[in-house]
Structure formats: structure tokens, C-alpha cells
């Protein structure tokens, strides 16, 4: 801030700055130091900045008058406030007389400022602001997955941390007296969670050191308290049943607490203490907890990494047998929690958004520069006459500055309104964006809009205007009432702006084309699944003691569902296709070497029952399905797996594959399917019978294929599930189609966003082109009139105007293609089966722009051809 002020002192005359600059800054520093409250400091800042331009102008005036007359202006203020208001009123009146110019400028700038402000609002909230926790900049996240009990027990040895938090999230059943059971999101947390994340209770207390034993003691988030208990404070002290165990609610967190998304997810409902007596915490292979550390004052990330290397070595030494399978030592380098929360993809995406918006703003500004330039030329005569009548350059520039300021202010207000609307509309997608819920219009964002409007007005309004006051007085006056044609430089400048606009628009249209083509490619993917009439029912079950009991329970539920009339078949698994979109593995994945001479690869594994393939309509291209309850270790592999390993589906039958720790005989080959999303490869896969490697988990999913439309069957489905598992909360039923659709929503959003930018840029470029041509046609009316009078055909005039436009457009297209060539490579990671330098997108964008150019040129061309030669000549 002080730097900004120091920089702003450049406004002062140089002599003054050199002599008094340091003293001025020192006084401001003293003033700030002397202020006792934040409000007072803000007022001092405001006063210092707001009054600076006035002081600068005054000083410049003083310098002249002191030298000139030897006598100062004792009043100091001079014409000051009154003069300014007068100038502004004159500016307003002048602008009102040219409504087309005024509205066009305001609208164009408002669009640019609005888009820029909205983008800044998003980026600021998601990327720039610190996380809403005390000392957020010192919070770091231990990467490389979840961590085991042996690791957690050694974390106190990390001296670079002055505190650390471990959490483990889960979906649980919550049962309350007199209410139906519901699924809630819970997290097991260490007591340090509350102090590290600054979570304070609004009712009751938070968890403290010594609270132990899992969901016996529960703290609710404010949201869950409102939603499930209607904000009843009596809930504190009451008993609830969580995951089949009874627990006591001891407190409710404050409303302003934002759960750390990277740890607990943003929708967490209940928090309960870490159960250090959980026997699983003794196992080095039970990786269940995410860890965040707070760096001690002065400690660096490198120190934390070094400490964690020691901890990792210690854990590996203590559990040498477990770690003997690992090919390399385990490491958990830390990364800032903020970076983990937002993630690289989002950061890149937002950078791209900012880039696109900057380009858009550039187009808008260049349009406005155009308008001002054109108007400035149109007014050279007015200016020359006023100058001849004795107006000083300062007065003329002041007048033009006031006009720019009025346009800028109006555009700023419009832009803020537009940004506000955009951000509100954006709210619909905020769940897709980490930290998205915080996005809103606030002072910082409005301040940014203000800066943006000021900068755009200064650069693109004032500069061309000043030019017009500097024009050679005599020459303009001499050319008299005929109206001067623009000088060569101005024409070149205008052409340059048009070329630039077309080029920038081409880049944006190309980006939109690439993203939309990727989206189409993704949507066209063959899933290997027949999703018609398939509904998905995720269940949160109470994890039984053993894996066998879990399989037994789920098999019973699925059997009951299969009996419902209208249901063709049903299958269940811990994780079904399109349930874990964006992931690369949920339940098990391993490095596998299919044959001896094959490179090791990543194998995605799925534990399924014998109904899986029929429910999802996935064909077995060779071999057979699993037999009910078969005990021989067998596997079914994906077609691409078979081809990679053994050359063909047939050849893979009878071969051995190592999956889930066992050598299994391949008995079948299934057609290629997608599982984690339409754009996520799923080539090397294996399915094993889920009863052969049972694993008890607190969740499971049902997929049900119905005969005909499923929507009438939801109640029957629920009834069937409840008939065998009455303690289950209301199961949600989603169609598989909806889930597949949902998996592309981010892409669709990105494509739509890019397209809207592209369209906006096109409209702006077309508007700019239209404006310039219209202006230059108007300027050349006389010449055109003479040509018509001398017998030139109207067609020829039209062709000349359109030709000129197309020349400019073609220039812009060439520059734009060169620019796209460079820019699109930043897009690579967002594309799917489309090359960043995709010819179709580039050529398509070029064609669109040339077409738009031609259309934009058509109307000015018609007007030029419609010139009445008599009328223009009569003016002579």
C-alpha cells in the first residue's frame, strides 16, 4: 500500500517529488502509526489517495503562478470543486448529445470489466485468499495417500510441526429417536483439529484431549444441526445412534466454520474423536488417515520433509516385513494445504479463464479506443476552434478526461452489476469448484473493478483523446468546413486495432472449438455398458465384523431386490461403474505384470458378483461368467488386457494372472468398458468374484436393471431393501444415465464457458469492425459521392468496402492463427482426443471470423453505396 502511494507520487511535478517526496511519505507513515483504530487508518489511506491528484494539479499550478507573477494563489483551492463539477456537467451534456457513441462505449467497457471482475472474483476466492484458518499459510498436507497408525504415533517426532491433525472420513448411518435413519458424513478427528482449524462451539463444547473411542462423543457442524435438528440447542447432551453405536452430542460448531475440504470434505455433518484403541491402528497397512501439520514458527517445508523422511525410515524399520514388498522407501513430502485443497487442474483451469478474460477485455478496450479515436478525429475541428478562442490545452484535456471518466464510471457500475450477476449464476456450479461456496462479490472484488475501469479509461479513452487536442491547429482550420480526413497514422492505428481484435477473437474461438470438440469426443465414448433402465442405489451399511458377514448381508439384500416384480436383475459391489468418477481406482488397484516379457502396468481391479455383467449389459467376448459360489481362484479380464497380455481374447483363457495377492486362472474376457469416467482410461482391468476376497466396509452399492421404465419401482425397491435390512437409511436411487451424464459436467461447463467467451469476443470484434468501417465510410462520403457522380457503380463501391474489411479480417486471422499456435499448447491437459493444434478447430475459427467480418462489413458497404452524390456535392 505504501509502495503504491510512493509510486502514485509520480503524479506530482518532478521538482516537488524530489524535494518533498520523502517527507510526504514520512508524514503518512507517522499518521498511520499515530492512528489507533483500523477505521482511522483506512480513512487516512483514503484521504491520502483521494486528495493526491488534486494536490498534484494544485502544485503544478502553483509552480507556474509563483514563477509567473511572483504571487501565489492564496486561496489554494482555485476553481477546485466547483470547476470540477462544472467540467463533469459539461462532459455529461456532451456525451448525451452523442448517445450512440456513449452507450456503445459504456456497454463494451462494462462487458469487459464485468467479465474481468467476475473472473477475478473467482480466482481471488479460490486461489489468492488464504484458507479461513488461523495461520493458514503454515498449514501443510502430507501427500502420498492416507497414513497408518504406526505413522501417526510417530508424528510427534516431526519438530517442524508445532501441531498436527489426523482425520478419517466416513459415511455413517445416523439414527435418532422419532426420526427416520439418515446417511450423514462423518469424520474421525484428533482433538487438535479444533484448535488448528480455529473451530469453536456455538453450543456445548468441542472435543478435547482425552475424548476417545470413536462415535461415542459427537460434535455437530452448524449445517447438520440446522438441517437435522432444526437448530434445537437441546440436542447437546442428547443421545444418538451413529453407525450402530450410541453416542452423546457434546457440542455444535459455529456457523462460520468452513470444514477443511481436503480432509473432511465440505459437507461433513458430525465429528467424533479418534479411536486410538482401534486394533487397525496397529497395522502398518491400514492407511486411513489424512494428516495436516502446522509448521512451527520459522520452520520450513524442507525441514518438515526431512523430519518426515526420518519418521518414514523409522516406520519401515519397525515393520520391515510389511515394507519388504515395497520397491522403494515410502516418502510423504508435504505441500501447502491451500494448494492441495484447490488442486493443480483447477489452478490451471482458472489461469486459463483469466487469460481468456484478459483477451476479452483487450478486445473490448480496443473497441472503445476505436470509438474514442474516431470521435476524437471527428472533434478535431471543435477542439481547434476552442483552442483558437483561447482554451488552454489543460482545459481541453481536462474536458476530454472528464468525458472518459464519466464513461468509465458508468461502465464500472455496469461491469460490477454484470460481475455480480455472473458470480450469482456461477453459484450453480460452485460445488464443482473447491472453496467455491465462498465466492461472492465483496469489497476486494469491487475494488478490483474500480482499478480495472480506471486503467481501461486512462489507456483507451484518454490517450486517443489527448492525441486529438495536439493536432496541428492551422492545418485543421485550413481544411475548414470540408472536414478533415484522418491522417495516415490514425488510419494505420485504426486498422491495427481491428487486426488485433480479429486476432484475439480468433484465439478465443479456437479455444472454444477445441474444448467443445473434446466434449463431443468424450460424450461419444463407448462405455461398454448398456445404461438403459439401470438404477444405482448406494447404501451405507453398518460394517459387519467379518468380510464374509458383509458379503452375506449384501447378497441377502440383493436377492430380496431381485424378487421385486418388474426387476430384471440386480448386482452389488463395493464400487460400481461411474460411482467414483475422476478417480483411477477405488477398491483395489495394483501394479501387475501380465506376462514375463511385459512391462509392469497398473491394473484396476473390481470385485463383482455373477450378475454384474448381465446388469450392466457388458458382453463376455470369450470364456464364461463366474459360477455361483465357485471357490477356485479365477478372474475375468477386460478385452484390452487380454490383447495386451496374450494377443487375443481367446488366447488369454486359461492363462494365469496375479490379482489381489493370488494367482488366478482367467476364465472369461469381457468387452472393454469405462469405469471412472468417460475420459479416464480403463484399459488394464480384472474382475474377481467378490466372495473370494471378502472385505467388510461401511458402504456398498446396488445396481438394478428393470424391465421398462424404473421410475415407478423406487418405492418397491426401498420396501424390498427394508424388508431385509430395516435399519438402513432411505436409499437414494439414481439412474446410471444421470451418473454418466454428471461425470461430464465439468467438461460441459468448461466448454460452455469457453463458447460464451468466444461468442462474446466475436460480437465485440464484429462491433468494432462495423464501427470503424461505418466511421471511415462516413469520413469518405465526399470521395464516394464524387466517384458515384463520375459514374462508378454502386456494386463497385460495396465491393471496395467489403474488400477492405476482408483484408483487415484476413490480416487478423493470420495473426490469430500464429497466436493460437502458441497459446493452445497450454490447453493440452484439458483436451481429449483432440490435438492442441487441431486443424479443424483452427480452420473453423478462421472461417467463422471471416464470415463475421463480411457480415459486419455489409451494412457500412450498403450505406456507402447508398450515398447520394448530389447531396454530398451540394454541401460543397
Amino acid at each position: 500500500m505504501l509502495r503504491l502511494y510512493r509510486a502514485s507520487l509520480r503524479l506530482l511535478p518532478r521538482e516537488v517529488r524530489e524535494e518533498d517526496g520523502a517527507a510526504i511519505v514520512a508524514t503518512l507513515e507517522d499518521q498511520l502509526a499515530g492512528a489507533s483504530t483500523e477505521t482511522e487508518r483506512t480513512r487516512i489511506w483514503l484521504r491520502a489517495f483521494v486528495r493526491l491528484p488534486g494536490a498534484a494539479m494544485g502544485m503544478a499550478r502553483d509552480a507556474r503562478s509563483v514563477r509567473g507573477s511572483g504571487r501565489g494563489n492564496p486561496q489554494g483551492g482555485g476553481d477546485g470543486m466547483y470547476g470540477m463539477i462544472r467540467t463533469l456537467r459539461l462532459a455529461l451534456r456532451t456525451l448525451m448529445k452523442a448517445p450512440a457513441f456513449t452507450w456503445a462505449s459504456v456497454l463494451l467497457l462494462a462487458l469487459g470489466i464485468g467479465a474481468g471482475t467476475a473472473a477475478f472474483g473467482i480466482v481471488d476466492h479460490v486461489l489468492l485468499r488464504p484458507l479461513p484458518y488461523p495461520q493458514a499459510e503454515r498449514l501443510v498436507y502430507m501427500t502420498n495417500g492416507s497414513h497408518s497408525g504406526p505413522t501417526l504415533r510417530r508424528l510427534d517426532a516431526v519438530h517442524a510441526f508445532d501441531a498436527w491433525v489426523a482425520t478419517s472420513e466416513a459415511t455413517l448411518n445416523l439414527a435418532r429417536p422419532d426420526a427416520e435413519p439418515v446417511r450423514v458424513r462423518g469424520a474421525e478427528v484428533t482433538a487438535s483439529f479444533f484448535s488448528v482449524f480455529g473451530a469453536t462451539p456455538t453450543v456445548g463444547r468441542v472435543l478435547v484431549e482425552g475424548d476417545e473411542g470413536g462415535p461415542d462423543i459427537v460434535v455437530l457442524t452448524h449445517d447438520a444441526w440446522q438441517r437435522l435438528w432444526g437448530g434445537d440447542p437441546a440436542v447437546v447432551g442428547s443421545t444418538i445412534e451413529l453407525a450402530g453405536r450410541s453416542g452423546e452430542v457434546v457440542g455444535v460448531l459455529g456457523e462460520d466454520f468452513v470444514p477443511p475440504q481436503a480432509l473432511t470434505g465440505r459437507d461433513v455433518d458430525v465429528l467424533y474423536p479418534m479411536n486410538w484403541n482401534n486394533p487397525n491402528l496397529e497395522r502398518p497397512g491400514y492407511h486411513a488417515h489424512s494428516v495436516v501439520g502446522r509448521l512451527a514458527p520459522g520452520a520450513s517445508i524442507e525441514q518438515a520433509d526431512a523430519d518426515l523422511v526420518r519418521v518414514a525410515d523409522d516406520v519401515m524399520a519397525a515393520y520391515a516385513e510389511h515394507y519388504s514388498e515395497y520397491s522403494e522407501p515410502v516418502r510423504w513430502p508435504v505441500e501447502p494445504l491451500a494448494a492441495i485443497t484447490v488442486g493443480e487442474g483447477i489452478t490451471r483451469g482458472l489461469a486459463l479463464l483469466l487469460g481468456a478474460v484478459a483477451l476479452l477485455l483487450l478486445v473490448a478496450c480496443s473497441n472503445v479506443a476505436h470509438l474514442f479515436l474516431a470521435r476524437g478525429i471527428g472533434r478535431t475541428q471543435e477542439m481547434s476552434v476552442r483552442r483558437a478562442l483561447g482554451a488552454s490545452t489543460r482545459a481541453l484535456v481536462g474536458q476530454l478526461a472528464a468525458e472518459s471518466a464519466v464513461v468509465g464510471a458508468a461502465a464500472g457500475i455496469g461491469g460490477v452489476a454484470l460481475a455480480w450477476l455472473t458470480l450469482r449464476g456461477f453459484g450453480r456450479w460452485t460445488t464443482a469448484l473447491p472453496r467455491g461456496e465462498a465466492i461472492s462479490m465483496d469489497l476486494r472484488v469491487v475494488g478490483f473493478a474500480l482499478l480495472l475501469s480506471t486503467a481501461t479509461v486512462l489507456v483507451f479513452g484518454l490517450l486517443p483523446a489527448i492525441r486529438s487536442t495536439r493536432r496541428d491547429l492551422h492545418r485543421v482550420l485550413r481544411s475548414g468546413a470540408r472536414g478533415a480526413s484522418s491522417s495516415r497514422t490514425v488510419q494505420a492505428l485504426r486498422s491495427g486495432l481491428v487486426v488485433g481484435e480479429v486476432a484475439v477473437s480468433l484465439v478465443l474461438v479456437t479455444l472454444a472449438g477445441l474444448l467443445m470438440r473434446s466434449f463431443v469426443e468424450v460424450a461419444r465414448q463407448d462405455t461398454g455398458i448398456v445404461s438403459d433402465n439401470v438404477v444405482m442405489v448406494p447404501l451405507s451399511v453398518s460394517a459387519p465384523e467379518t468380510g464374509d458377514a458383509y458379503v452375506q448381508m449384501m447378497t441377502t439384500i440383493t436377492e430380496a431386490v431381485r424378487q421385486v416384480p418388474g426387476i430384471e436383475t440386480a448386482t452389488w459391489s463395493g464400487e460400481l461403474p461411474f460411482e467414483n468418477v475422476g478417480g483411477s481406482s477405488c477398491c483395489w488397484a495394483m501394479r501387475a505384470q501380465l506376462t514375463e516379457d511385459d512391462e509392469p502396468t497398473r491394473l484396476a481391479g473390481h470385485s463383482v458378483d455373477e450378475y454384474f455383467f448381465s446388469t450392466f449389459g457388458t458382453e463376455l467376448v470369450a470364456g464364461r461368467n463366474f459360477l455361483p459360489g465357485e471357490t477356485e481362484p479365477v478372474a475375468i479380464v477386460g478385452e484390452r488386457t487380454a490383447i495386451r497380455g496374450w494377443g487375443s481374447a481367446q488366447a488369454a483363457l486359461g492363462e494365469i494372472i496375479e490379482a489381489r495377492g493370488e494367482a488366478r486362472r482367467i476364465v472369461g474376457v469381457a468387452e472393454h468398458t469405462l469405469h471412472y469416467g468417460l475420459d479416464i482410461p480403463h484399459d488394464i482391468t480384472a474382475y474377481i468374484p467378490l466372495w473370494q476376497n471378502p472385505f467388510s466396509m461401511p458402504w456398498a452399492s446396488l445396481a438394478v436393471k428393470t424391465r421398462g421404465d424404473a421410475s415407478g419401482l423406487h418405492d418397491d425397491l426401498r420396501a424390498a431393501i427394508w424388508s431385509v435390512a430395516p435399519e438402513l437409511p432411505i436409499p437414494t436411487v439414481t439412474t446410471l444415465d444421470a451418473m454418466i451424464d454428471e461425470s461430464t459436467s465439468t467438461r460441459r461447463f468448461g466448454g460452455a464457458l469457453a463458447t460464451s467467451f468466444g461468442v462474446l469476443a466475436l460480437v465485440l470484434a464484429a462491433g468494432g469492425l462495423y464501427g470503424t468501417l461505418l466511421y471511415s465510410v462516413g469520413e469518405q462520403r465526399r470521395a464516394i459521392g464524387i466517384r458515384l457522380a463520375l459514374g462508378a457503380g454502386r456494386r463497385r463501391i460495396e465491393r471496395a468496402v467489403v474488400g477492405r474489411a476482408l483484408t483487415l479480417g484476413a490480416g487478423g486471422v493470420v495473426v490469430g492463427i500464429a497466436l493460437s499456435w502458441y497459446v493452445t499448447r497450454f490447453l493440452e491437459s484439458f483436451l481429449f482426443r483432440v490435438a492442441p493444434r487441431d486443424a479443424v478447430s483452427l480452420v473453423g475459427a478462421a472461417a467463422v471470423l471471416l464470415a463475421v467480418t463480411a457480415v459486419a462489413a455489409w451494412f457500412p458497404a450498403r450505406r456507402a453505396a447508398g450515398t447520394d452524390p448530389l447531396e454530398t456535392l451540394r454541401v460543397e
Binding site: 506530482l12 514520512a26 507517522d30 493526491l52 502553483d62
Partner: protein, 106 residues
């Protein structure tokens, strides 16, 4: 030396700066504080305008710079004889003005 009455009337801000300097030399922030107190927060100065006024007064010979207790950057100003003359002239003018105006209030 021209007649001090030629430069009257003074802007309230200028008058107040002369008033506080008449009581002794002050550096920039000192002037800001003193003027703020003297005017009961009616006149709030920002640094740039303060130095603008000081510069003008220096050029007119109403104030001068002197060695203060502060660092190089904190420049100290004191009132000159001419400054006092201007201040006296302005206060007397205001006095007369008030004396004539008062009876109108009845």
C-alpha cells in the same frame, strides 16, 4: 516587502497551519495533528496537500525550514517574521469582521 494585507484572506487551512507553527517549529505529522486538534477535527490534512501548502508558504517566505529532532526525511518547519505578519493581519481582519458582524445577531 509588500503589504501583508495583499495576500488576505487566507484559506482556513493555511491560517491554521500558520497558527500552529506560530507556537513553535513542527514536523509534518506534528502539523497534521496540531491542525486536527485546533480545528476540532474540522480540518484534516493529507500529506501531499500539506507539503503543497508548505512549499507555497516557503516560496512566499512565510515559513522556513529548520533543524528538527527527526530524521532527514521528517522535515521541520518554523514560521518567519513575514509569516507572523501575515498571520497577524489575517487575525485582525477576521477580528474586525466579527466585530462588525456580531451586532447583526442582536
Amino acid at each position: 516587502m509588500t503589504d501583508p494585507n495583499d495576500v488576505l484572506p487566507l484559506a482556513p487551512r493555511d491560517l491554521l497551519i500558520l497558527v500552529v507553527l506560530a507556537e513553535g517549529p513542527l514536523h509534518g505529522y506534528g502539523i497534521v495533528k496540531a491542525v486536527e486538534e485546533r480545528s476540532e477535527a474540522g480540518v484534516l490534512l493529507d500529506p501531499a496537500n500539506l507539503y503543497r501548502v508548505l512549499r507555497r508558504m516557503r516560496e512566499q517566505g512565510w515559513v522556513g525550514e529548520c533543524d528538527g529532532d527527526g530524521s532527514d526525511r521528517r522535515r521541520t518547519h518554523e514560521i518567519t517574521a513575514r509569516g507572523r505578519a501575515v498571520l497577524r493581519a489575517e487575525v485582525e481582519r477576521l477580528d474586525r469582521l466579527v466585530k462588525h458582524a456580531r451586532p447583526a445577531l442582536g
